[in-house]
Amino acid sequence: MESLDKEKVLHVAELAKLKLEDQEIDKYAHELKDLMKEIDRIQEVKIEDEEILISPSENTNVYNEDIVGNMLTREEILKNANKKYGSYIAVTRALHD
């Protein structure tokens, strides 16, 4: 793993939707480098077998009956929202002129 420069750390933070303060960038550059050095060890392993495992569950696919079950009420859905506008959740404007 090449050392993580400032630009790379900021790119990763952008992917993770985080805003880093200037002093945090150096800290995370150092820490992420330590973690990636450890993670890079998996490149050493030689595995003949090409099979992959995404989940230890061996269940086959299950289809549910298409019936209406319990649903949350509007009040319940709104209960934990920070900003409300009438019976809607209010969000920051996504499109600008």
């Binding site: 990763v12 992917l15 985080l18 330590d34 993670i39 998996i42 392993v45 995404i54 934990n80 920070n82």
Partner: protein, 479 residues
């Protein structure tokens, strides 16, 4: 102060049936103990607990769990009782539904005493990443309780409650159980519904029972295991997991991976494990030391899988539907500041690493390679279980250590789970069992790993060892 919570579940039940005590006595005792112990092991107490117990006063105690105080890790959602995941992000979050395991707990009329402290979003091995401060280890308050199910382990060890639920992704039930000296099970992946467990790494997460003895652990597991249409990874499971408790263990075939007994492990722990192995041999068990390939890569494997899944799972925290919000004029600023302020340092570090290993070419280089290694690891464990009934080793590499020891070491929380992570990657069940104390009176834990959905065999051996050692695990009685 009364001391009913020190008694065994069966004894408490008999007292309730004969009306010698009432559920309110138990709730009052729990709250008094929590107040007196000051372990910071609860984030929220259930203010309605006493009222709920009063309502049970005139009802017949119709099942073993009736009126029994239980503690719930704060990443398992409870209706109208705050669920924070020990994060500023969810400081004021009140779920509008109960997790499936909570429905089962309530059906049996258990009393939820409160929600226990933990590492933020279950990320950590000491409890120190909690937004709500450190949980203290009841056996020595200057030591970490382990994590991430820190408060659940501390509350059971100090007998503030009879039972607790934790969750285990890479060792979060077993590791604190080992550090606090209680019994904790990480069930087979797919045994217990994850519906209502706030997701960390979905292919690893399992809710597990944490108790003061083996029998009560099996009973609580009986209750929470089983199929749930809200978690399609769960399987039908109507077994009685106590069925082999007390049975003759002669002839059990036990494997001990050399990796689990290396120089990295504290010598006192290894000695204790060797003593147990001698007892088992004398009782007619076959005990073989074996090699399992690639275990040494379990930590980087875990980091890719768990942090990759975490970065995706935690993408849901955007400040809109629930959770902390930093209100900003620009959408992008709102997302970024909400998450930067709402998440603590450990969580941010982990989701950044997760984002990094999943991005662009890295997906092939790290994630796809990890999926192959994971398949290989499962195959290797399956080969062992073709010849053996159980795998044994220590739960932890060390005993509970002082606070702040590893603040500058970002790898430490992963290395604390050195011996628990391989099992999680394979989805196998494993139990942490107290087997004694070191020279500082700190508990030492044995880890008993079973084959898929064979928890009853784990309990069979665990109950034998528990009976043979006959340890007094109450705080203060280990001196």
């Amino acid at each position: 102060m009364t001391n009913y919570l020190d008694l065994e579940l069966k004894e408490i039940h008999e007292l309730l049936v004969s009306k010698k005590i009432r559920p309110t006595d138990l709730v009052k005792e729990a709250f008094l103990k929590i107040e007196k112990n000051k372990l910071n092991d609860f984030i929220s107490l259930n203010e309605n607990a006493l009222k709920e117990a009063e309502a049970l006063g005139e009802v017949e105690a119709d099942n073993i769990f009736f009126g029994i105080p239980i503690a719930i890790k704060d990443n398992i959602v409870t209706k109208d009782l705050r669920t924070t995941c020990a994060s500023k992000m969810l400081e004021n979050f009140n779920s509008v539904y109960d997790a499936t395991v909570i429905e089962k707990v309530k059906e049996k009329h258990m009393i939820i005493i409160g929600k226990t402290n933990m590492d933020e979003f279950a990320m950590g091995s000491t409890g120190e990443t909690s937004f709500f401060g450190n949980t203290l280890n009841p056996r020595n308050k200057s030591r970490v309780p382990g994590g991430s199910s820190s408060g659940s382990a501390a509350a059971v060890a100090s007998r503030e409650v009879v039972l607790a639920l934790g969750s285990d992704t890479g060792g979060s039930v077993r590791q604190p159980s080992g550090f606090c000296g209680i019994v904790g099970l990480k069930p087979t992946y797919g045994s217990v519904s994850r519906h209502g467990l706030v997701a960390f790494a979905s292919s690893l997460d399992q809710i597990g029972p944490m108790t003061k003895n083996v029998y009560e652990n099996a009973l609580l597991f009986n209750l929470i295991a089983g199929k749930d249409e809200k978690d399609l990874n769960t399987v039908e499971n109507n077994k009685d997991f106590t069925s082999l408790i007390g049975k003759d263990i002669k002839g059990l075939k036990i494997a001990v991976p050399n990796y689990y007994m290396s120089d990295v492990i504290n010598a006192e722990i290894r000695n204790k494990i060797n003593e147990i192995l001698e007892i088992l041999k004398n009782k007619g068990c076959q005990v073989d030391f074996i090699d399992i390939p690639n275990l040494e890569y379990a930590i980087p494997l875990y980091q890719v899988i768990a942090l990759g899944e975490a970065s995706t799972n935690l993408a849901r925290f955007d400040g809109i539907k629930y959770g902390f919000l930093s209100d900003q004029e620009k959408l992008e600023d709102m997302y970024n500041l909400t998450r930067s302020i709402g998440f603590g340092a450990e969580v941010k570090r982990r989701i950044m690493v997760g984002s990094l290993v999943l991005s662009g070419e890295n997906a092939d280089k790290y994630y796809y390679k990890a999926l192959k290694l994971r398949h290989n690891m499962v195959s290797n464990f399956k080969k062992v279980f073709e010849k053996y009934d159980l795998i044994l080793g220590p739960t932890n590499t060390d005993v509970a250590y002082p606070f702040n020891r590893h603040l500058d070491n970002v790898l430490q929380s992963f290395y604390d789970d050195l011996l628990t992570i391989p099992v999680s990657m394979a989805g196998l069940p494993a139990l942490a069992l107290p087997i004694g104390f070191n020279h500082e009176s700190l508990p030492i834990g044995l880890q008993i790993i079973g084959n898929y959905f064979k928890e009853e065999v784990i309990y069979e051996l665990a109950s034998f060892i528990e009976k043979e050692l006959n340890l007094d695990l109450r705080i203060g009685s280990d001196k």
